[in-house]
Symmetry: D2
């Protein structure tokens, strides 16, 4: 490896790659003008639940299915996910619905298994600086969805992506999911200003997760539209067919009807942006 300046995200930088990168996830293009909506329940719970959710996602017009089989949980006593059984259920609903699967790998031990089943491997906010996991992701054959840590600076975020890129995997999608602040009306504070900042400094696509950011179902539609208007390339949204019965994160899961409107409205907003002559951020 050539000697690099440790403070620089060389491969993630616009200087390394002037045009926007686009990342293909099971035939869906992330990083272009069309916003990509990836939706689904927090966790895979049962065969019936994940199939019903996936069908609602497909029916809404969203493009990818998200759901967790391995869950990083604050407490050792919380439900930790179905593990491999969850991954197999996800593969089955992919067959049924044609939707590509985004699911999380929480450690290097289970990365191989997740990689085998997933179309895009998510690295969660708490693992943004799990450097061993980032190095493993750098050797992956799958695209990586990398979430911003809860108090990560822009430089730290791009340097985390750099670990993956430097490992040989160029397919990284960034994801803003809210940062910790004093504000108490929202679980975290969604920092949409990082979207134009990332687009100025980096060629990597960036999407937004309004569900974990706000923690409140009724804030998700507004923040979804705001994210696309801010220039994000897509959304990662928690949706459940029966939010009140969800094993995890029910209060922030939206209803299928809300998802339909989000897909439709964000497409309309993206069309406005595509036609707009608002001077773009300088590179």
């Amino acid at each position: 490896m050539p000697i690099m300046n440790p403070e620089e995200f060389a491969l993630a930088s616009r200087r390394a790659h002037q045009a926007d990168s686009v990342v293909d996830v099971y035939g869906v293009t992330v990083g272009g003008l069309r916003p990509v909506v990836c939706a689904g329940p927090c966790s895979v719970e049962t065969p019936e639940q994940i199939l019903a959710c996936a069908e609602a996602v497909r029916k809404s017009g969203a493009h990818l299915l998200r759901a967790g089989a391995y869950k990083p949980r604050t407490s050792p006593y919380s439900f930790q996910g179905l593990g491999e059984r969850g991954l197999k259920l996800l593969a089955e609903v992919r067959e049924e619905t044609g939707l590509g699967i985004v699911t999380e790998a929480v450690d290097t031990d289970t990365f191989d298994l997740v990689e085998e089943y997933a179309d895009c491997v998510q690295i969660g906010a708490r693992n943004m600086q799990n450097f061993s996991l980032l190095r493993r992701a750098g050797r992956s054959v799958r695209p990586i969805l990398l979430k911003r840590g809860l108090c990560a600076t822009l430089q730290e975020f791009l340097l985390a992506a750099e670990y993956v890129l430097a490992g040989g995997n160029p397919r990284v999608i960034l994801c803003e999911r809210g940062v910790r602040t004093f504000a108490d009306h929202s679980r975290t504070t969604l920092d949409l200003s990082i979207v134009p900042a990332v687009k100025r400094l980096s060629h990597l696509p960036i999407i937004v997760d309004p569900s974990h950011a706000t923690g409140v179902r009724d804030a998700v539609p507004s923040m979804s539209l705001a994210a696309i208007a801010a220039g994000a390339h897509g959304l990662l949204i928690e949706m459940h067919v029966q939010p009140n019965q969800a094993l995890t994160d029910g209060p922030q899961a939206i209803y299928p009807s809300q998802l339909e409107r989000i897909v439709s409205d964000t497409a309309s907003i993206a069309a406005i942006l595509a036609q707009s002559k608002v001077p773009q951020p300088l590179i």
Copy 2:
């Protein structure tokens, strides 16, 4: 005054007033479906500068003119504004352009003078809990634009508005302008999640200031569109005909051409929201 629960923003609450309040500023309605754009330079500098800026604002299709005659400055050695002479220049450009004036009152001593010239009196972020100033605003004949403090909670923000309402002035417009966080890619972190939260709890209109929030010109268009998509009733934007020569805040002032696109694009986004059936936040 009846005995009130000190933790409640009784008059600012949806419980007190179920319908959205609309506030008239010199014939412009703030709080309805059409987003209101209030733009102009940070400070009134010279007769020529303020007139040129005001004409650019009018030409862009924006609705109100903002500019400071009294400036709250971090340092005692910074330019503190033209004072009454600035107010008189603002009144003159109102005559010339027909644009209503939004300008800041920084203390109770000069409030009378500001009130005499302004169509809407701004109370800045650093004064959000200047309770004497809030009480004076409560006795004002003008609508009040109240900016959120740099680390104010939602409850503190609404209780600050409550001071104005309880003083007898029902015409309050709230304004989000970014909060202090660890993030360093933006001067402050624009907290758009407060928009749906305010709309859930309060009937007062809320607008957004992307200029002070980001401190970076090229982030202003994105954040303006995002604010309207999040449901904000309008924008407060710094624009200058010659940003590089501005006495204050030049790096965050946008160009007139950027303002034109923002006015146009936000109107298009608002039209999408008006037609959308996204389930609204429950009251």
Copy 3:
């Protein structure tokens, strides 16, 4: 006034005044090796209450009495203080106990009155950037106790002091009282690292208020000792003879017995610091 660099706190700087400044408050020296303890109730409530509190302060060995006659309150419906009657009661207990009085001025309108009765005029955290109030303090004949704003940077804090110094009043005591963060085990996060930072950059004395910072009675003794060990010149502590009956801030008011131990233990810690050869921060 000569042309100054607006980013510099010229008069507050060590460059302007190499030696530590000491400020005399009613015969008590703030800024020397002996830590000064200023204690008392949040508010003046009744003649009996303030006298009992003042006597407990004197008996504890603390050096100054603090209590508010004008209270800046988040809600317009909260108890706002006794006003001038409170100031007169404070003057009476000064006669009785010999303790100098530190009390807050919340606006320019009442500053004259507060100045007449107080031995040291406090400017609260929410008013740290109330520049009109700072200018009035700059013309005061009294020393000023200036609290750090809830999200003020070190530079903003010193520039706020600079307003007072530039106005002609060299007697400023700084006070750290906690900053807003995500942490929820304490009302705010007491930032003791600002103590050595202030001492490096400025000659002004700095004290610490552990009561408002933590909001929890039982954290006050630990944080008091920590503040003095960090090099603070004194403490501002809420103490009440009957905390459970306090009109304001009862849960954070300590008992007189706790105050006695704090006075004694901080004196012991200061004696260790005075003898220590720990290399001091470089100027």
Copy 4:
């Protein structure tokens, strides 16, 4: 495992274990009245460097040696530590100096090796919610030093410890090392108020790392004394015999002479606390 409330840190709680836990690290007791000082360079660099540093630590009167062989680095292009060779050098200086070794394990892959050489295995701030690593630590035969994440709440911190305890390892030492805030005079904001809060809720010992918290050498002595005065059971300090030549973190490494004074002064402060009758936090 019995069904536990996921929000409770059952085993870490005072309710589970009323008395303070003490943890033995190579014959040194952490958690008692005597503050334990663990000091050393950020990284093991060369045989000469680590031996010289260890001898300076021993000579200062400090009790344990810290140094990293595996380094979690923000950038993939930064020095990543000497790995196993570093561990062997640490084992050699333990033989020479008699000092027990605290060193970090950054992932599950290298945990076995670290465990083999270390007397206490550190889990760093960025790994506080690396749950796989916490589970491995729960099966370790070594005591675990668990650092608080940069934006971890108290509950999250104690639940991270709970993972280790629930895994069967009762020997956990907590470590506060600063949190991310807006403040820019210090690399992070050292949150000493968590010390009494931890002692109220948990029986686990808690120490403080002023070096990473402040990032500034000359703030380390003040914050060290403050930490002990706040009730911390010990300190984790970066010291280097030639800070200006350190490969990592030189600007925050103190000189041996500073360490000597810290050891001496903290012992004096602890003696004051031991004699004090300040009412302790209620459990």
